[in-house]
Symmetry: C2
Subunit: 327 residues, 2 copies
């Protein structure tokens, strides 16, 4: 087998507060990377300029060697055209982002939803390598996911498939950031863990002393709950155990719907409380229909914070090649 | 455009109590049909013989004109090999059903899960025609579903995708027939509506008088609850309204996960209480993220009781053609 030199692409993870750009090779290795803040108030043209500038000057890359640029954007993306239909975090609506960035850079640009891009990254270069049926669940402040089913990354009718954080797990339950009640995110998202902790402390001030002591007058956060649980505080342990059980309840549903061979967990809440994965795993073993749980693997993300840049770059290389093949 | 005569296949819907066989043409029209009981106690060989006999003598078909036989089986199917991995209703495990029936008939046989076959039928010849992203939800005694996403019918790792009846909608909720608690089926399946009605009557005998009067000492059933609701009884109306709300809560989650353009409802409980679809629809309009609900169509099944035979026949024609093309 002759070995061709790896090809290069740039992956960009574009969020409402930060931009993470990286040169990534075709084997999924991050060659160089750069971070900057997102100037949402400057409007979409400003963000295009900032990304173009970062790509040209911040990555130490010879742009003539870069075959494609992929950008993962939080929001509703029309992948074919590169139009960002709606991104609440960026305050963009119907912005032809791919076209504009391509004009600015002179390199083919591919745009995808950030979580779907990260799922692609885990699929090609991370914890989902070689799988035809696997799910990624990112549990951070919000909860998102990506679905590979029968060897394809699902997009849905308008490119919005995968919002597993907004599946109902408690009909009529806690209010969510979306119009629904009882969403998975409303129990296990970082903001929800914090809210549930506040509720528990208000309900029983005495039991909440451990959390309050650690907070020292600051706001209760998911991170603080998870640290307090790690220190053995009863209420915090209980809160995190319940969180794992809700996560497991949601996961059992997803298994029955998709019958995946592997589930990959990532995101800040999981990084802070890896025990959540064990709790969810034990819920699955006890509660899923056995044929769905037998042989199922539950793993942690391998790419973590680099999943979106690696996935965006890989997806961009892949799509540019398939477009060339169509010509 | 020249018009070729429609091609013919036989579709068989094989359940634990009845067998429904039909000659179906390539336009999805049922040409003739035949029903018989399933002799589960006679074992799998007996069922193969009964189906072969029914196909030869019960359908008035000239077998030389039949290109393929498709069978939809309740259970876990390995579609490639035609092996029934597990069918609790038929009490079969790892039975090479496709091979045996093909030997008995001398016609290519294709085996698929019954709900997936029915979904295929709605996709090609019913309420899902022309859609790339749509879901079918069958609400009968149990709750099952089929998923077409990005133009493909999902199967999952072991051919078990689509068990949407066993997605958690109330974490820690009502016991289900599966090991999980709080499944959608445990609220909206026919058996669950009956159980919830019994619970409501026991909790308030006075309010339950309408249901008890109509039952006349017989068991409460979902059908009876739905008829009593149609007659205006308060408790029965409340039970069916709650059923629609649980159905809506589950559906909202499915929309966020799959982003379909259309959802199709079928099954005996829906046929008995079409108002459930309206309730679920209004829950979706109020609770789904607007971009997922805008433009979404919610419809009733067009093929109803014929969906599995039409779908099995159509799937069989389709697979036999694609196998021939591979040669």
């Amino acid at each position: 087998m002759t070995r061709t030199p790896p090809r290069l692409a740039i992956g960009v993870d574009l969020g409402g507060t930060k931009i993470h750009a990286a040169v990534v090779d075709s084997e999924g290795t991050v060659v160089s990377s750069h971070r900057l803040g997102t100037d949402v108030e400057g409007g979409p043209s400003r963000v295009v300029e900032d990304i173009a500038h970062a790509v040209r000057t911040g990555l130490g890359a010879n742009l003539s060697e870069i075959e494609a640029v992929g950008v993962g954007v939080a929001g509703q993306i029309e992948a074919e055209s590169g139009v960002v239909r709606s991104s609440p975090n960026l305050k963009w609506t119907d912005f032809p982002f791919g076209e504009r960035l391509q004009q600015a850079l002179g390199i083919p640009v591919v745009v995808e939803n950030d979580v779907r891009a990260a799922t692609w990254g885990e699929w090609r270069h991370g914890a989902g390598r070689g799988m035809d049926d696997f799910l990624v669940l990112y549990v951070g402040t919000g909860v998102g996911g990506g679905i590979v089913s029968d060897g394809r990354l699902l997009t849905g009718d308008r490119g919005m498939a995968g919002e597993v954080g907004h599946m109902t797990v408690v009909a009529g339950g806690r209010e969510c950031t979306c119009p629904n009640r009882g969403c998975l995110e409303a129990y296990v998202g970082g903001w929800a863990i914090a809210e549930r902790a506040v509720g528990a402390v208000l309900a029983n001030h005495e039991a909440g002393r451990g959390l309050l002591d650690r907070a020292r007058g600051e706001e209760l956060t998911a991170r603080l709950v998870s640290e307090t649980a790690a220190a053995g505080d009863d209420l915090a342990v209980q809160l995190m155990d319940e969180t794992g059980r809700y996560l497991g309840a949601g996961l059992v549903g997803l298994l029955h719907i998709f019958n995946p061979a592997r589930v990959v967990f990532g995101g800040g809440v999981i990084e802070g409380s890896p025990g959540l994965v064990d709790t969810a795993d034990s819920v699955v073993r006890a509660s899923a229909i056995p044929a769905y749980a037998d042989g199922l693997e539950i793993r942690r993300s391998e790419l973590e914070g680099n999943a979106a840049v690696i996935g965006s770059a890989s997806l961009a290389l892949n799509r540019v090649v398939s477009r060339q093949n169509q010509l």
